[in-house]
């Protein structure tokens, strides 16, 4: 704390909680005593008639006593106050001088600051080589919205000392800032008519804080914190100016509300009647106020603790800017006020009530609509962290390292882990909407099929824990509604609320779906739109909307569900390979799991936190593009894939497979932190794709890879076989002559007896169904009737 104070130069003598209403000090106005102390918010600015507007966000609810220079000292504290006054006089002059200097500095900042590297979306239309904030003033004169948002980072880049003052003494410096802006503005646009004077709203104070790290030193400082809005109060009208009228002579007077208290005039100044002044509510001036509860974002939380909350007050036009559920960055002044146990007692609780007075809101998820919030996410990493990550990326075996760090408790399945790794990185998002082709999916979807007990669930659980926006759901329990969105009625407000399901919640993340095969067809069909278009359309209870669901899907199923979706980029089969060497390695791995200590394990594998950061960094900062060679390699790969099947009249690749290859290659380039997709990336994508196909689409009867298994859920030979069985059955029935009805079991036994190949009950049923489709027969219960 001491260090902070001593570094603030001229403002040094100021205590952390300056008890004075320094807003009342106008730099131009050297006659300190001519001010009306009861009206703290009047500055002398060349605003030519534009009214100043109170800034409750800077000066609301101050508990510290005012050093009142004009009125009589309060009894009981007389001696102390006189001393204070003398000392504070000197202080006042020192501060006034400091603020004067800051004023000049701020004007220079506004006139001169140029930010050629600006990447912010809101500055798109501005000329980057001209002073940024002068252009914004131009904008204000056109639009008429008297608010100037100032990035604190800019102030810091311009003058570090000024920035420090802004952060440490916002209550004094921001009004000075206001004055500086208004002077400039009305000099430039003397005829402008604004609703009120321009208010400066600084944001992104570099001291962006996690709620957990707030401490007493931050009180009365300008701080940016991030979190999630969990509750907003009703609008609270807060009286700013009370209007009194004498009931005898109708003389009226206004009284400013000072820190929540109204000094009710006891005597009418006009007719001298005592206690005749009555408050007239509808002529008093109120300002809007709202209480907002902010909760720590789940990502910032240490494990095993509950999230902290903070109270934020929003004033005037910031009221109703945020809704529960929004993720926001709030810039404001952190306040603490002591609590009195009882107004009639001198005893106070030794606890302070803390809150933020919001000056600026910035929704973090709003920007996600336009893409990822790069600026914000990048800041999560310190330079050292980025250096470590880059160092790791430069290692030739980074791909292998990362994939082996994934779910180390699960044995082998290296290709599957590699596939999931690529899924975690994702492809590059491409936007062709201008040419009318819409967005191309960048997310990679993976399906794991396998025998029960091959740790599929464990793998899913691991991925779910690794990614920040992961959702875990089981096909068994989830309905289409639970996956997409549903409408509920809020019990309190009777308002219809759209509740989003797992798929929407995992936007930009991974949705893990266990027991995919147990999902009803109806539910699964919902996934079609999500997996290809990455959006979700909802028409429910009069609410029609399209939500983003740019989610990767990692599904697990027991062997071969009826219709496999071709929308999966990779389908892996997790089987139990049964050979001795494998068994030995597996046993060793499992036993090791039980006797190794935690430290040993950590040494062996990459830390989960590093892996998380690595993925997050690559996802936000690397967006590789195809190089010329890579494109060629992809074309060749695709042509080769098509060729394989063509000899046997089978299609072995569709354009979808090409897209998958591109995505996988891009993801692999991301693993290397490379901005270019190169041939090696394509090679790995090809290899992985082929491995996955080999596992899942090999026709068990012919040994060939048959892509139609993926598209129809059945290989070409199996389809042929099904027809053969149906024909054999038909022949059998025809041989039986004119019997209108047959016993089901009898028929099955006959067919089995006659056929050379083994006929299962499933095959028999399928054949019956095929014949029923031809309108040849119907099956009712245990009898088969001919038509």
């Amino acid at each position: 704390h001491g260090a902070q104070e001593s570094s603030t130069g001229e403002l040094q003598p100021l205590p952390t909680s300056p008890g004075t209403d320094l807003q009342s000090l106008a730099p131009q106005d050297t006659s300190l005593f001519s001010m009306d102390a009861s009206s703290p918010l009047i500055y002398d600015t060349p605003s030519r008639g534009t009214p100043a507007r109170q800034r409750p966000d800077l000066g609301s609810v101050r508990k510290a006593p005012q050093v009142d220079l004009c009125s009589e000292p309060v009894s009981g504290k007389a001696a102390g106050v006189i001393n204070l006054t003398e000392c504070n006089l000197k202080l006042h002059f020192a501060i006034t001088e400091a603020l004067n200097r800051a004023f000049v500095c701020l004007q220079r900042f506004l006139q001169q600051f140029i930010d050629p590297t600006s990447r912010e979306g809101e500055n798109v239309s501005l000329d980057l080589n001209e002073p940024l904030y002068m252009q914004k003033l131009d904008e204000i004169s056109v639009v008429g919205e008297p608010v100037l948002n100032v990035n604190c980072g800019h102030v810091q880049a311009f003058d570090a000392d000024l920035y420090r003052q802004l952060i440490c003494y916002p209550q004094e410096v921001i009004p000075t800032f206001d004055m500086a802006v208004n002077e400039l503005f009305f000099d430039r646009f003397p005829d402008s008519i604004l609703e009120h004077q321009i208010q400066v709203r600084p944001y992104s104070a570099l001291k962006t804080r996690n709620m957990r790290s707030l401490n007493p030193e931050d009180i009365d400082q300008l701080i940016t914190i991030s979190g999630m809005v969990i509750r907003t109060s009703q609008l609270i009208p807060e009286m700013q100016e009370a209007f009194f009228r004498c009931q005898v002579c109708a003389f009226s007077t206004q009284v400013e509300v000072d820190r929540g208290r109204i000094a009710e005039p006891a005597v009418c100044r006009n007719c001298n009647t005592t206690h005749s002044m009555a408050l007239v509510h509808n002529r008093s001036v109120f300002s809007d106020k709202q209480m907002i509860k902010l909760q720590e974002s789940p990502e910032d939380m240490p494990a095993g603790q509950t999230p902290h909350t903070t109270v934020v007050y929003a004033h005037n036009d910031l009221v109703d800017k945020v809704q529960p559920g929004d993720r926001v960055n709030i810039t404001g002044i952190y306040r603490a006020a002591p609590m009195r146990v009882n107004p009639r007692q001198s005893q106070v609780k030794s606890v302070y009530r803390t809150h933020f007075d919001a000056i600026h809101f910035r929704k973090t998820d709003e920007r996600r609509l336009h893409g990822l919030d790069e600026e914000n996410e990048q800041r999560l990493f310190t330079e050292e962290r980025v250096a470590t990550l880059r160092e790791l990326a430069a290692k030739p075996d980074v791909y292998e390292r990362l994939s082996s760090a994934l779910a180390p408790s699960i044995y082998e399945h290296e290709d599957i882990k590699k596939g999931i790794l690529l899924q975690l990185f994702g492809g590059t998002r491409k936007d062709f909407s201008q040419t009318g082709r819409g967005n191309f999916r960048a997310e990679i979807n993976i399906l794991l099929c396998g025998d029960p007990g091959t740790s599929k669930s464990q793998l899913l659980q691991y991925v779910f824990n690794l990614v920040p926006r992961g959702q875990y759901t089981s096909g068994k329990g989830s309905s289409a509604v639970g996956l997409t969105a549903y409408v509920t009625k809020d019990p309190e407000t009777r308002q219809l609320v759209l509740q989003t399901g797992a798929l929407v919640l995992s936007d930009n993340g991974i949705c893990c779906i266990d027991e995919f095969d147990k999902m009803s067809d109806n539910t699964r069909s919902v996934l079609h739109e999500v997996m290809e278009q990455q959006t979700l359309s909802i028409a429910k209870a009069g609410i029609i909307c399209q939500l983003n669901a740019r989610t990767s899907i990692l599904a697990a199923a027991n062997p071969l569900p009826h219709t496999l979706l071709s929308r999966f980029d990779l389908i892996f089969l997790m089987l139990d390979p049964q050979d001795e060497a494998y068994d030995r390695r597996l046993a060793h791995h499992l036993v090791a799991l039980y006797y190794q200590s935690e430290e040993q394990v950590e040494e062996e594998y990459l830390d989960m936190a590093v892996l998380k950061d690595y993925i997050a960094y690559a996802r936000t900062c690397v967006s590789p593009r195809l190089s010329e060679e890579a494109s060629q390699a992809l074309i060749e790969a695709y042509v080769d894939m098509r060729k394989i099947g063509s000899g046997r009249g089978m299609v072995s690749a569709y354009p979808r497979q090409l897209e998958s290859l591109i995505r996988l290659a891009e993801a692999h380039a991301k693993v290397r932190f490379s901005d270019k997709v190169e041939t090696i990336d394509v090679e790995e994508a090809k290899r992985l794709h082929r491995e996955a196909l080999k596992q899942s689409a090999t026709d068990p009867r012919t040994g060939f890879v048959d892509i139609s298994i993926l598209t129809t859920g059945m290989s070409a030979t199996a389809r042929k076989r099904k027809e053969e069985v149906a024909q054999a059955l038909k022949k059998l029935i025809q041989l039986k002559g004119k019997t209108p009805a047959l016993k089901y079991q009898q028929l099955f036994d006959d067919l089995r007896a006659q056929s050379e190949a083994a006929i299962t009950k499933d095959m028999f049923d399928e054949a019956l169904r095929a014949l029923a489709d031809e309108d040849y027969l119907t099956v009712t219960g245990k009898t088969v009737r001919l038509l």
Partner: protein, 628 residues
């Protein structure tokens, strides 16, 4: 007991003394902590401190040192408070520097808010409740071992009031001076316990009814629980505490009525402090409940508890003498316990063997998402129509320090709040049944489940139970998102057929005796057990769970060989999952014999045990036919 126990009766005096000596140097805080740590280290000094668990609040002296055995149920936001402040005496105008630490309210005198000497400090509040599901014998045993003399002090304290919280229904009234403080008898600690009888009632009979006579919900995770809840103020290293930690805290008791949220006063105070009106009444009620009901405890020393077994020293791993003493008789105790449980399980020795393994299991590590060491047991084939499961659960309650029986009736599944949920209006975590401390025994009675429809809550509850068993974690509901809290709960499922929940191991009960009246049979068995025997079992079960364990290089090799060998004959016979389970069984079996390393013998025994169990399960499936 030395007579001048100022540090117990007047800890704040000690603190103020050290503070005054320090002359504002920050050293004093450390000195205070060291002072109390030293004091508590002395021979059984801890037992001299009265405990909130077994002494009714109104017998305790305000601002004295008390202890509390509890679980962290919720963590509130950090508070800023005046660590040091200056008061002005209006008559003499003299200023005095005072210490604000370990206090809720400033001392008399006008506080000078402009003083440069005000030090703002930070502390964190935890909402603590008695350990959920703590067995009666644990409470009684702790209460008996307490040597605290709870002397209703002759020195008159104006804020004390003498009704216990149960009868206290007019606590909203500001407490006036109680002039009728006549001489009181020395309360016997045992009688205290009786007077407030902390019993856990079976929830299936009485699931939804609240036992609080007051309208204030004390937010106990389990229905039907009683006991003091407490707002524990932590001053040091609060980041090291986790939700659901078991703690023993020593701190200054603060019951100042000024702390209570008083609805009537709200109007008045709001004029003074407009921020007051912003908090909802629910929030104030949750965060500043009447101090007579939820006292404040300012922590001077806090100790995380490894276990809550009163028969063992609290730091068991450090007490080598106790450990080696017990290890010598461990095997005989095991034998007796096995016989006892065999009788209880109607003569089924195998099931008894597995029940022991289950009772000493504990999650000892996690590999990424995989919890190691958990051993969920499903005892199937339980008689359906008798009260057998209920009695079985009671027997387990008599053995384990904390446990809870959850009847999986359709009504309970559809209605009971299982997963803790954040109530944003009151800004607190509303407890659910699955908010339990480590090593609590959760007895799921599936025999109570009937046919019918589960609604959305029911499905969520079943999923939560499944997650608890598979991953040993509970996803708390924070409305906008879920948050995962790892746990360590021993789940035992009693069912007729195979349980619908996933479990690590299933034993089908095969009774060898069929008593005509199961109830009386079990009662007779229980009566036959001497209390000293029961105590031995209790010590045994806790000790076996806390032992260290390792596998030597040699045995590792043997196990690997064995696995390969078994797979060679028949790959279907053993999967990776089976090996996982066998390794856990081998671990638990060794520990149950007090062996801290796996021997070849131990491995073979474990294998045989598993073989007998699986063959029995297979036979059972053959009998039933239709079970998969």
């Amino acid at each position: 007991m030395p007579s001048s126990e100022d540090w117990i009766n007047n800890p704040l005096g000690v603190v103020d003394g050290i503070f005054a000596q320090s002359k504002l140097s920050p050293e004093w805080e450390r000195k205070v902590l060291e002072y109390f740590k030293e004091k508590l280290k002395l021979n059984d000094a801890k037992s001299w401190v009265p405990s909130l668990n077994d002494v009714p609040l109104h017998y305790l002296k305000p601002n004295s040192l008390v202890k509390f055995r509890c679980m962290v149920q919720d963590m509130f936001d950090p508070e800023f408070f005046m660590g040091a402040y200056e008061t002005v005496d209006p008559s003499t105008n003299s200023k005095e520097l005072r210490c604000g630490k370990y206090k809720d309210v400033t001392d008399c005198g006008q506080v000078d808010f402009n003083s440069r000497n005000i030090v703002t400090s930070e502390r964190q509040t935890f909402y603590c409740v008695p350990i959920p599901g703590e067995s009666q014998w644990v409470k009684e045993s702790y209460a008996c071992s307490s040597q605290a003399r709870v002397v209703p002090s002759t020195s008159y304290t104006p804020h004390r009031h003498k009704r216990s919280y149960e009868e206290d229904d007019d606590m909203d009234m500001p407490h006036q001076k109680e002039s009728s403080s006549g001489p009181q008898n020395l309360p016997d600690p045992r009688r205290n316990v009786d007077s407030k009888r902390l019993e856990t009632e079976a929830p299936c009979q009485n699931a939804s009814s609240s036992h609080c006579s007051s309208n204030l919900d004390l937010n106990f995770p389990l229905p039907g629980e009683r006991g003091p809840a407490c707002l524990v103020k932590v001053y040091e290293e609060w980041d090291s505490f986790r939700l659901n930690d078991m703690l023993e805290v020593f701190g200054v008791l603060s019951v100042d009525p000024a702390l209570s949220f008083i609805a009537d006063d709200k109007e008045v105070s709001s004029l003074l402090d407009p921020t007051d009106t912003m908090e909802t009444a629910e929030e104030q009620r949750a965060h500043s409940p009447p101090a007579s009901l939820v006292p404040r405890l300012h922590v001077l020393y806090a100790q995380p508890l490894q276990h809550n077994n009163p028969l063992l020293p609290s730091a068991i791993s450090e007490d080598k003498a106790f450990l080696s003493g017990f290890l010598s008789e461990l095997n005989s105790v095991r034998g007796e316990l096995l016989t006892y449980l065999t009788h209880v399980l109607l003569g089924d020795a195998l099931a008894a063997e597995y029940l022991i393994l289950h009772l000493i299991s504990s999650v000892y590590a996690r590999r990424d998402v995989l919890p190691l060491g958990k051993f969920t047991l499903n005892i199937s084939g339980c008689p359906h129509n008798s009260s057998y499961t209920e009695q079985l659960c009671q027997i387990i309650q008599h053995l384990m320090p904390s446990s809870y029986r959850l009847c999986m009736s359709l009504h309970n599944m559809n209605n009971l709040p299982m997963v803790p949920r954040k109530d944003y209006t009151a800004n607190r975590l509303v407890g659910g049944i699955l908010q339990l401390a480590s090593n609590t025994s959760l007895f799921l009675d599936e025999t109570q489940l009937e046919q019918g429809q589960l609604d959305a809550t029911g499905v969520r509850n079943i999923t939560a139970l499944g997650n608890l068993i598979s991953w040993q974690k509970v996803d708390y509901d924070f409305s906008y998102h879920q948050m995962e809290f790892p746990c360590n709960i021993n789940v035992l499922i009693a069912s007729e057929g195979r349980s619908l929940l996933p479990c690590d191991s299933q034993v089908h009960l095969r009774p060898t005796v069929s008593p005509p009246n199961v109830e009386e049979y079990l009662k007779a068995i229980q009566l036959a057990q001497l209390p000293s025997h029961l105590n031995k079992y209790r010590v045994y079960l806790t000790v076996a769970r806390l032992l260290d364990y390792s596998i030597s290089e040699q045995v590792t090799k043997a196990v690997e060989e064995d696995f390969v060998e078994m797979r060679k004959d028949n790959p279907q016979s053993i999967s990776a999952e089976d090996l996982h389970r066998m390794l856990v069984v081998a671990r638990l079996l060794s520990l149950s014999y007090g062996q801290t390393t796996l021997s070849r013998d131990g491995w073979i025994k474990a294998k045989q045990l598993e073989m007998v169990r699986t063959s029995r399960t297979q036979q059972q499936e053959c009998v039933n036919g239709n079970e998969p």
